[in-house]
């Protein structure tokens, strides 16, 4: 088997795991949130969710019928042997996984408004690269962006006078107005930047950070906790049917901003937050970081 074939085979196998098994951090937080719920409705919904998590494993089926648009976030070493071929190899992997998992057909070409029926289209699967100098490894994060939780994502640029108050208003309003149908408890990624694009990109990056992780800056880490508490106390509960909590976490990513602009973005993940990270070394030996006990 060539290195290329080996890579495709392993990516397909990993997409299969991500579609059918939630990452450890998400399951752990859902278990904690389940314990805090007091009403019959909330308890019943959590029972259903955990039953679903188990049945998906047992019957080898995707957790949710919406297997999303496949998005890849790469931290790729500049010396990783397949660096020049990653895009065609990842596309090929998605084509194969569409039939083998199976994945729902979720790529509609814009303007032609036609479903490609294979999950591959213009810039889909979506690929974002971070280059790691002098490394020969690849850290690959796979995310299945479902329609329900993609829908409420928003970014805006505020006047600096609106500042942090305006930013938390923006996040809370977006969650209450649009997040309820995104299958809570939600992963909430918030980005502080300058323009819409940088803020949205950071928000997405934040939503892909592990549940329970903290921003390295203590001030930002504190705001993550405070904002999570604020949103939890709104009491959206599982499926927006009210309960003790609203979110699995609030993760914030930030950058320096222009003095005259205050950008903020918010990106949502549903309770079935299908995210997985796998590391390839130069010989394509793998280590899965998000799903303990799983190997490919």
């Amino acid at each position: 088997m060539t290195l290329n074939q080996d890579f495709v085979k392993k990516v397909v196998a990993f997409i299969d795991i991500v579609a059918k098994v939630l990452p450890d951090d998400v399951v752990k937080r859902l278990e904690e949130l389940r314990q805090n719920e007091k009403t019959e409705i909330a308890k019943e919904i959590y029972s259903c969710m955990f039953d679903n998590i188990e049945k998906a494993k047992e019957l080898n089926r995707p957790i949710c019928q919406d297997t999303g648009v496949i998005q890849f976030y790469l931290k790729v070493g500049t010396k990783f042997p397949l660096i020049d071929e990653l895009e065609p190899l990842l596309k090929e992997s998605v084509l194969i996984a569409t039939n083998s998992v199976p994945l729902r057909h979720n790529a509609v070409e814009t303007f032609k408004e036609k479903n490609t029926n294979n999950n591959v289209g213009l810039h889909v699967p979506y690929i974002e690269y971070d280059l790691i100098p002098n490394s020969d490894k690849l850290e690959l994060t796979v995310y299945m962006a479902g329609g329900g939780c993609s829908l409420p994502g928003r970014a805006t640029v505020l006047m600096p006078s609106a500042g942090y108050h305006g930013a938390v208003d923006f996040v809370a309003n977006t969650m209450v107005d649009w997040g309820i149908n995104a299958c809570p408890p939600l992963v909430i990624g918030v980005g502080f930047g300058t323009c819409v694009a940088s803020s949205a990109k950071l928000a997405k990056k934040a939503s892909l950070r592990a549940v329970g992780s903290s921003n390295p800056d203590p001030q930002v880490a504190q705001l993550e906790k405070d904002l999570a508490k604020t949103l939890d106390n709104i009491g959206i509960g599982p499926q927006g049917l009210s309960g003790s909590s609203s979110v699995m976490c609030v993760n914030i990513e930030n950058m320096a901003r222009h003095p005259s602009a205050f950008g903020v973005g918010v990106s949502f993940g549903c309770w079935a937050h299908r995210r997985g990270t796998i590391v390839f070394d130069k010989d394509l030996n793998t280590e899965i970081l998000t799903h303990k006990g799983y190997e490919i």
Partner: protein, 203 residues
Amino acid sequence: MKKILKTPIKTEDIENLKIGDIVYLTGLLVTCRDTGHKRRVLSGVVPKTDLKGGAVFHAGPIVKKLDNGKWEMVSIGPTTSMRMEKFEKEFMEVTGAKLVIGKGGMGEKTTKAAKEDKFVHAVFPGGNAVVAATQVEEILDVEWGDLGMPEAFWVMRVKEFGPLIISIDTKGNNLFENNKKEFNKKKIEELEKLYPKLEFMKY
């Protein structure tokens, strides 16, 4: 004890249900989404499956055709009910169905119709597609296959399908509308408590 609704559902089976009640469904369930609602209401094309006293699911499933010609339900989950708001009143009126199942709430028009025509809307918790699929005992028929797999009219026999949380009852109550008011009130209170912790700006 589980409260189980059986099709055909009669008005007296549902008129005492309140928003927030949890029920399960045993019997016939059909899927119908955007295009199906439009076809039934606007074109007047009548499916051969009688929906009187029946249950309708806002869902587009993944189904697999087996070697023996039968269909297997692989995955089925609710889609956002609000998309059907425009046609639900008329759809329920012409079909005589008594239970609508979906995700999230529905609007004022459907709430009013539920009170006048005596039907209920219930939520199946989203993202639980494997649980829902395993509660489908058999796919009995498919009509309107020309609309494609998600939009076709799938006729299923289900057993204790749920949990179904009543979100619109026959008394004019709407759980999501009530919750929304409450969430907005709490949002303002909670943000007020957060603001003093946000003094990062130097001046």
